[in-house]
Amino acid sequence: MQLFLLGVNHKTAPVEVREKLALPASRVPLALRGLRDQGAREAAILSTCNRAEIYAVGDDDAAPRIEQFWNEFHHLPARGLNPHIYRLNNRDSAQHLFRVASGVDSLVLGESQILGQVKTAFEQARESGAISGVLDELFRRAISCGKRARSETEIGRGALSVGSAAVELARQILGPLQGHSVLILGAGKVSALTAQHLVASGARRVIVANRTHERAQELARQFSDGNEISARAITWDEFPQHLIETDIVIASTRAPHFVLSAADVAVAMKARRHRPLFLVDIAVPRDIDPLAHQLDNVFLYDIDDLQGVVNSNLAQRGSELEHVETIIQSEVEAWQSWVHGLSSQPTMAALAQYSARIRDQETENALAQLPDLTEKEREIVRTLGRAVAAKIVHAPLRHLRESQSDAAAIHRAFDLDSLSDSQKDSPRAEEST
């Protein structure tokens, strides 16, 4: 009986392989049932765009069968995963899941999405009834390890995307973003995503200008749909007037030249009475004349500047790696002693039973030969039996509870197997009476 892990991730497999292993949530129960049919007592599947991993508890021979099933389930040629797969057992598989949940194994170091994905995998497996004791405990511990890594270190701190870097900057310039408005120049995907970050952080008005007006209208509709955000499209020629009322401008047009000159910005600044203006230029070639940054109260950042914020945050996260690994190690140790406790529990129970049985047998034997004893004297004999039995098994029990000792050795030393064989009969006999 062991815990094992089969998986591929972005480091071991190219996207062509990972996409074949993608598993929509609706098919997860089916896959879990298949895994259990192949001999897994417990199973959970973690499937994201960067990884596909199966965690299972089963007998030693279940692993190859599960691997074969996995190939077949995804219609891959036999041993098709072989060059990409990693196979880990027991301690190593637990450590791997803890590292995954902490974001250390992610493409973007310390990203937080993975923790949610681990939770989802846990819930899916639980709802399908595919996990009980061991994996249940493992996933709970993995999730708490991920939370610890993020709360006790800075691994999760700082913006990691251009959009969230823009939010960080906007906050340090304009204060809280509530009540500020965003002007989008060029209704592209990247500008929409960046604006989405700002809206999620409190910006409540969005104005979209695009050369083709229809595209602007479409994007404005996307923003106002289902949100309490007023979003509207304006024609391209109108946009310089709107520099007066908006505080954040996101430019990402495909224009080969500047669409916003420093002179235009200077005119707008006068009209806005020098309220600070935050310009984000994510277009290549650039849309806004970099000279605008020289103007008082104008803060212009291009794609490289934002990427610079992201990179310095990433470097900071990298410097936290050591701390996170320490946390993971301590969690792995805690897990190991839990597993150990689990495996020594039957031995401890058997040992306790063994001593109780000898105690009762021998005490009753002695009492049967001493019929003249008073009740007080009989009690003394019983106490004697209890004390002797308890003291003999005290040391081995403590050993099992506290240290990583070999439960099997103690099992053999006390010959507990023969005991449990003879014990098997007696409870049944009692039941039948």
């Binding site: 340090q172 304009l174 803060f299």
Partner: protein, 283 residues
């Protein structure tokens, strides 16, 4: 009585605490400024905590020494400087940390330290004002108004430095570490504006009561030939220019905040212009 005897020792202890607070709060802002690991984050937080404790102890010791000085405080420049430093430190601990994040302390603490240090210096004017000159409540009212005005303007000054620091980081695109610990430009700007408005209002009232007090004591007092009054008026005008520029012309940002810094420099000069006033009364 005990306070009166130990007044100097207490003041010395207060000044030492202020000095320590200043160093800690500077470390919080300026040391390891572009390092944002958790280790340095803890380090910075600890520096701020130590700094605030030092400031707190300073306020306590300094406050006791002020009690020992009694009403003499209100009449002598060194006493007033000490009182100013004490009110500034106490009000920063009560209010300023909430408004300006902990970085504000790095710019408040040196002002507090210098004011307290100055009040330590033996001065020929120390305790030289006769009690009968204090009989009128005008003087106390005048000094308190001016003091509170100064404290408010000192906050405006410290926030202006914060603003310029943050603005410089944002303009030079030095975006690691320190910029995240500083308040946002908008918050700093708002603080400068409010502190200046409040400070200028108090200063106005203080000037009016001051002139009234002078005229009671000196019939032929010519306010406009007194250099202290002239500097005070220049200070007043500078802060007024800032407010008008912001209200009416809508100026904002670096340039207006430089005006506030100039105003505070003038304020310090006008304060040291005081020796010209007191000998005039003593005559």
């Amino acid at each position: 009585m005990i306070l009166r005897q130990n007044e100097n020792a207490l003041l010395l202890a207060g000044v030492a605490c202020y000095f320590a607070a200043m160093l800690f709060l500077w470390a919080h802002v300026f040391l390891r400024a572009d390092d944002a690991t958790r280790q340095s984050d803890l380090w910075h937080r600890r520096a701020a905590i130590f700094g605030h404790y030092a400031l707190g102890f300073g306020v306590l010791a300094h406050g006791l020494s002020l009690l020992g000085q009694g009403s003499a405080l209100f009449s002598v420049r060194v006493g007033v400087a000490g009182l100013f430093g004490w009110i500034l430190a106490a009000s920063y601990l009560l209010l300023g940390r909430r408004i300006g994040r902990e970085t504000l302390g790095a710019f408040v603490a040196p002002v507090v330290f210098l004011a307290a240090l100055y009040s330590l210096a033996p001065s020929p004017l120390h305790r030289s004002v006769r009690a009968e000159q204090l009989e009128t409540q005008w003087l106390v009212v005048h000094v308190i108004l001016i003091l509170l005005g100064y404290v408010s303007l000192a906050f405006a000054f410290a926030s202006s430095l914060l603003y310029l620091l943050q603005e410089g980081l944002l303009k030079r695109k030095k975006l690691a570490g320190l910029w995240q610990r500083l308040p946002s430009l908008q918050v700093a700007d708002e603080l400068i504006y409010r502190a200046t408005s409040f400070g200028l209002a108090l200063l106005t009232l203080g000037i009016v009561t001051g002139i009234a007090w002078q005229q009671r004591h000196q019939n032929n007092y010519a306010a406009l030939s007194d250099p202290k009054v002239l500097f005070t008026l220049a200070t007043w005008l500078t802060f007024a220019i800032y407010l008008v520029a912001r209200w009416l012309l809508g100026w904002r940002g670096r340039r207006t905040n430089l005006v506030v810094i100039c105003g505070f420099v003038l304020l310090v000069i006008s304060f040291f212009g005081a020796p010209h006033v007191l000998p005039a009364i003593a005559r």
